[in-house]
Every structure is written in structure tokens, then in C-alpha cells.
Symmetry: C2
Subunit: 334 residues, 2 copies
């Protein structure tokens, strides 16, 4: 259709210069109240919308935040909601790139986003770890990592205290009398996976249970990984089978529960299960899943606030949040 109206069109129609229009639209006091209102009226009438491209070209800011997400599970979706609502109320737009969960594509995604020159970057559940070492310093936009941990000049992190969460979950299982407690792992490279494992080991150690490497099951946090774990569970002789499993996340816990039940195991009778995240499905699982809550929306909101503060040059710091244990029925009655 006709080209979109520009500031010049307004200027012509209002009989002033483009500069004045720009100032009037920005609400500058350096322009008389009268012309300001006239210009604004004309702008509205013409359906004027500023060209973000032109604006960011000159200001050097894009009013945009970039987000890198792995493939979107309910956990990610929840923190994204926090990110989104905080962004729009701050007047920022959101540019997203997803990695499909592959570390290799993650750093590629960062490059892609960077080309758009976002004013800040949010990285969710990074699995690329060290690969950021080379890219972070070259960056002039602030970055915040959610659920993985990096710190630096203008890089911050927001994370659940995973070690504590892992400890909490395991502790609960121990309190219920379980001793052979397996840990069904998450993405190998993920910081959160390692921290949860560490919490598990610490709780075990504190309870005087010696560490058995056979109970550390590598997995990736998917539903499917949970199902597959049942093979391993059933592999050994019944006597030495674990009587409980703490899962990296609710997704794999749910998969594990479903498959275990399909194989005839009762939960929590034969096997106690606890998850991590507290996604919506945890509450309606059968039985309802005991899990460690993460304050997901809050983390998302904090991430953008951190970016905003960093952009304003205010001092900011990384944050550790503690989630609480949500006791339901999958581990046994409390």
C-alpha cells in the first residue's frame, strides 16, 4: 500500500520541521505546548508509527532483549512467561532463538541474536558452558543466565539453589526411610544437573549412606529418559534395587512413574519418586508428584529486571533462589 507515514509527512502537514516533530512526539518541553499537541494529533490521524530501524540506527539501542531457550518444556514455558510479562511492561520487545537442546546450536543461536543487536541477552538453561568463554567478553550487551551459572563484567545469573534442592529432595526420601536412592540425571553439560547431583550426594553422605556410582543414572531430563530408566531399575536383582529415585526434573519423573506402573510397580509402595520443578502436571500425576518447586515466573521477571538495572548502570548482582519441597504422594506420606 502507500508507504507508511514518516516524520517528514507529519512535518509537512504541520508546517514545522522534522526535528520539531521528533521532539514533539518525544514529549520534549523544548517545543510549545500548542505545536506539540497539534503534531501529536496529526501523527495519530495519519496512523504514524516510528521506524524502529531508523531509531535504533541512530540511538544504538534496539529496545529489544534476546532470549535463548532450549526446546520448550513446561519449565521453560513458565519462566518465559515471567520474562515476557516483565519485558512488555518495560517496553521491550523479545527476540527469541531456540537451540533444540543442542549445545552446538546454542552458540550459533547467540550469534544470530547478536546480529539483531539486542540491548540485553537472556540465556535459559544453557548447556554450552565453556563455549561462552570466548564470546562473553566481546559482548557489550549485558547478559543474564537463568538456571546455569556465569559471572563476569556485565554477566549475571539467576538460579535456583540446585544443590540445596537436591539435598532437600534426598533428605525427604531419607526421612521416609529409604536408603537406596538413585538419582536420575539431567543434561550432562548442565550446571543444574551437577548441582542437584551434588545435593543428593551430600544428603546421602550426611545420612551415612555410602555412595554407589551405580545409582547415578545418566539421562537427559526428558519423559522418554524417565521411561528408559525403568529398564535399568529392573535390571538388577530385586534385593539390591533402589527403593527410591530422585529425578532431575518432573518430566523424567513422570515418565519414570508411568513406565514403572505399567511394569507393575506401585508408587510409592515399591518405589518412591521425587521430581524437580513443580510443573503443572506434577499436581495431577498419578500419584501426585512430590517435587522441589522452582519459582519459575519469578526467575523470568528477575532476569529482565537485572538487565534493566544493568542498562541503567546500577549495580546488580547474581541471585540464588531457594525453592521449597512440595510434598504430595509419590514419595510416601509425609
Amino acid at each position: 500500500m502507500h508507504n507508511r507515514p514518516s516524520i517528514k509527512d507529519i512535518a509537512r502537514k504541520a508546517g514545522v520541521s522534522p526535528s520539531t516533530v521528533s521532539r514533539a512526539l518525544a514529549g520534549s518541553t523544548r517545543v510549545s505546548r500548542e505545536t506539540r499537541e497539534r503534531v501529536q494529533a496529526i501523527a495519530a490521524e495519519l496512523g504514524y508509527a516510528p521506524s524502529v530501524a531508523a531509531r535504533s540506527l541512530v540511538t544504538g539501542r534496539s529496545q529489544t532483549f534476546g532470549v535463548i531457550t532450549p526446546t520448550s518444556d513446561p519449565y521453560v514455558a513458565a519462566v518465559m512467561q515471567g520474562v515476557e510479562s516483565a519485558c512488555i511492561s518495560a517496553g521491550y520487545r523479545l527476540l527469541i532463538a531456540s537451540t533444540g537442546g543442542e549445545p552446538a546450536r546454542e552458540i550459533e543461536a547467540v550469534r544470530l541474536l547478536l546480529a539483531q543487536q539486542p540491548d540485553g541477552l537472556i540465556v535459559l538453561s544453557s548447556r554450552a558452558g565453556a563455549a561462552y568463554g570466548s564470546i562473553l567478553p566481546r559482548l557489550d550487551a549485558p547478559v543474564v543466565f537463568i538456571n546455569s551459572w556465569h559471572e563476569g563484567e556485565r554477566v549475571f545469573s539467576i538460579a535456583t539453589d540446585n544443590e540445596y534442592g537436591g539435598w532437600l529432595a534426598t533428605r525427604h526420601l531419607l526421612d521416609l526411610g529409604r536408603r537406596r536412592i538413585a538419582y536420575l540425571g539431567g543434561p550432562e553439560k548442565g550446571r543444574s544437573h551437577r548441582a542437584r547431583a551434588a545435593g543428593w550426594r551430600r544428603a546421602l553422605a550426611e545420612a551415612g549412606v555410602s555412595f554407589d556410582p551405580d545409582l547415578l543414572w545418566p539421562a537427559d531430563g526428558s519423559i522418554e529418559a524417565g521411561r528408559l530408566a525403568v529398564e535399568r531399575l529392573l535390571a538388577g536383582p530385586a534385593k539390591t534395587r533402589p527403593t527410591a529415585v530422585f529425578c532431575y526434573n518432573d518430566l523424567s519423573a513422570l515418565g519414570l512413574m508411568a513406565e514403572a506402573q505399567a511394569r507393575g510397580l506401585t508408587i510409592p509402595g515399591d518405589l518412591s519418586v521425587v521430581g524437580f520443578d513443580n510443573i503443572p502436571f506434577a499436581a495431577i500425576a498419578h500419584p501426585p508428584l512430590t517435587t522441589v518447586d522452582q519459582r519459575k515466573r519469578e526467575m523470568g521477571g528477575l532476569a529482565v529486571e537485572t538487565l534493566l538495572a544493568a542498562l541503567r548502570g546500577e549495580p546488580v548482582a547474581s541471585i540464588h533462589l531457594r525453592g521449597e519441597l512440595i510434598v504430595r504422594e509419590s514419595a510416601g506420606k509425609a
Copy 2:
């Protein structure tokens, strides 16, 4: 930091003009192979990344697609994955705005996105319906609606044949011998909700079951709505209770099953349930949920292909996809 290198920096270092650099980087044949390679080498060395702002200012294209999503459930997440992967392989970036499921915010979100001048727009599960009437014609970017239906000059739709799906689900229930079949609805304004209800009614009519408005339960497709529906289910005398419910989506079906079981009902013994969407959790529900599949990723991919084709000026058309019934156990054995 130092400012990002521009095309001029490369030009200076390579001893050529900015124009040549631009052409060399674009791979134009109008520049000698030798200089082209030299320029590209220097660009790589300097870590050059083009300014999208500048580029879109002159070309009038942003190489960006905008997406409007309601709040992100597993269904939405799945189609988004299709959208994302298609986008990145086409070299487009993705700008998203979410509405929190509120129709009012939806049209606001569109405005926000439009300000960024995306080359195309994708609207997921719109609930704003008629509100688009005024905005669509003023738009010069092509638009595609997923899972709602609009058509026009440059506006297309990709949707599951919801009427057919509703018919399929109800038909299945009927085949299992159920006669009193309720329909637990979705978002009131949603096109898909109405179509599924229509399919339900048609199957009922074809089977000679007279329509009972008391079995059309308004809801919104959330887990919570599913739980709440159990109240209604249990409200009447046991004799006249529905023996099956077809749910707008898996989310509400899952909520309903969990709550019904908590109240002592057996599924599918006392109550048959079928959902819609086939989200990952449907397979591991207890019992596994019979549902109508939607080709979610495919829809996402088709949406961006449609946009791409429209942008190239090729003739394109809206698409109806048919999903199949996935028979599991929640309705009874097939």
C-alpha cells in the same frame, strides 16, 4: 568496548570502497573473486556482523517474523517449535509477543509487534476474532493464523479440521457404546472450540442421540477447568450422569481424569474420556489418554512457508489438516 566494526572499517583495511565491501559480503559477482575473498577474510577477522537496523532501513525488510501466542501450553509449544525451526532455516528472526490468553491484550500485542515492522505475522490460537477486521486491511505484511480462521487479501490460515476431529472423537465414544456424552468446552471465543463442538453435535445427531444442552459444559481448556468439571459431572443424580466426556483439549482432559479419579471414579470404567491435541503427557497419563492428534510441528512449519511464499509473491492458499484419532485407554479398549 570499541564500537562494533562497520563496513567502512573493513573497506579501509581492505583498501576498497564500502560499496565493494557490501557487494563482496553479499557474494555479488560484480566483484572479483580475489577481492571478494580478501574482504570476507577481513570481515571474519574483525568479527564483523552487519547492522540489521541499517540494513532494514534501506531495504525496507526486517528479516523478522512476528508471532502472537496465547499463554504457552504444550500444544502451543509444539507448534512454536515448528515455527522456529522453519524460521531459522529460512534466515528469519522471530519476534514474539504473548497475550496471556486475554483477547484484549491480543490486539495490543499485534500493534506492538507491528511497530517492529516484521515481514510477516503469525497468530496462534487467536481469540480476538472480529477485532482483526479493522487492523488486517491496514497491514502490508502477510499474516497467517494458526488454529483460527481468517482469510483475505494477504491473510491465510492453517488449521486442523476441528469439526472432523470432534466428530471422530465422539464417534469413537459412540462406537464404544456410550450415549450420554458431554463436551467440555474450550475458550469461548475460539473458532476451534466451536468447530469441535459442532463435530460432537453432528456425530451425536448421526447416531440418533438427541442434543442435550446440559451436556455442553463451558470451560477454557485449562487443567483447572478440567478439575472443576468434575463438580458438574457429579452434580446430577447418578442415573443421568454422562458416561463419557469429550474434552476440548488434553490439558482439560487430564485435569478432569485426575480429579474424577480422586473422587473415586474409574476411567474408563465409570467414565470414558477423550482429549484433543495429543500432547506428550497424554501418552503417560493414567490411564493413557485417547485423543485426536494435531500435526503441531507441521502446522508451525507450514505457517512460515506460507509467509515465505506470499512474500515471494507466489499464490498460496489456506490449509486444513486432518488429525487422526490416537486410541489409548482412557475411553475403553478399541
